[in-house]
Symmetry: C2
Subunit: 176 residues, 2 copies
């Protein structure tokens, strides 16, 4: 059984991690590739209930996602992780522990994610109503050498997917 790839999407809430990971997941499934999507929020519900948003708790959540991703990848599953994973040291440590992992920086400036405000949370965070909100009241440490850097304020989803497919082991679609 070949080792599965792990694509780790990191970035601010609203930057586009889940959008891209979900779209890529659909393409993998359509191509008959065994894939799993580990979404930070869903994993938190199932594996990390009770953990908060301190550095220690966020790091533990990231390590748990890494543990599960590793188990799946061992069995040939392509794993797409979509998780803010804001701390560089822990993210790097977890990625280094996975044999076939790439770090994908889903990057949009605070002005863009605030404008999108997908979950309606940035304005509250900026108003001081949400503590430990990454990018506003909690740090986000951007990757220093990501395997892929996607500026989602400048690139379309399709343009991002074009760059993601090779990392996921998908052949590029040939233009008609």
């Amino acid at each position: 059984m070949a080792q599965g790839r792990v694509l780790w999407f990191t970035g601010l809430s609203g930057a586009g991690k889940s959008t891209l990971a979900s779209a890529l997941y659909q393409e993998l499934v359509s191509a008959g590739i065994s894939a799993e999507l580990l979404d930070g929020d869903a994993v938190r519900e199932n594996l990390s209930k009770g953990l908060g948003f301190s550095k220690a708790d966020r790091d533990m959540n990231v390590r748990r996602i890494g543990f599960v991703a590793g188990l799946l990848a061992r069995h040939g599953v392509t794993v797409l992780v979509s998780a803010i994973s804001p701390y560089n040291d822990t993210r790097r440590e977890v990625l280094a522990s996975l044999p076939n992992a790439t770090e994908i920086f889903v990057d949009a400036p605070l002005s863009t994610v605030t404008e999108r405000d997908v979950k309606g949370l940035y304005l509250k965070a900026i108003a001081g109503e949400i503590a430990h909100f990454t990018g506003v009241s909690d740090p986000y440490e951007a990757p220093t050498q990501p395997d892929l850097h996607l500026k989602t304020d400048l690139l379309s989803v399709d343009a991002c997917l074009e760059q993601l497919r090779p990392l996921a082991g998908l052949h590029q679609e040939v233009p008609a």
Copy 2:
């Protein structure tokens, strides 16, 4: 991808869960079957650090193991879970959520596991030095209708494995 089987070994510490699960795991790997062993203690280290031994915490640990077992089984992996999992309701609930799961009661009386005392803990627990020790100072609710009931004080490891192989999808070895 066919749904993987989940074999859930429940029983007291020292009853033989890990011995049987490990031996079966080796047979599966030798047979070229994609398998994973989820050991309660190891999983606790990786997924449940900080949880204690109250009913709520034990139940949460069991649910987390079930979540991970489900992810692996979805991708065709045969999963062997070795975990005390002392509470009947939660164990049943988790097993019911897994499409292809069997409950294996690894059963040895307290007198036997105390005599074995694999980890040297029963005497301490009986002396009142360990709180929340299953079977002594914490409850163990035996399965009422397990798929397999192995009395390890009466059966050899080989005799147990003979009964386990069909549940794991292994053909019986033909006697020479």
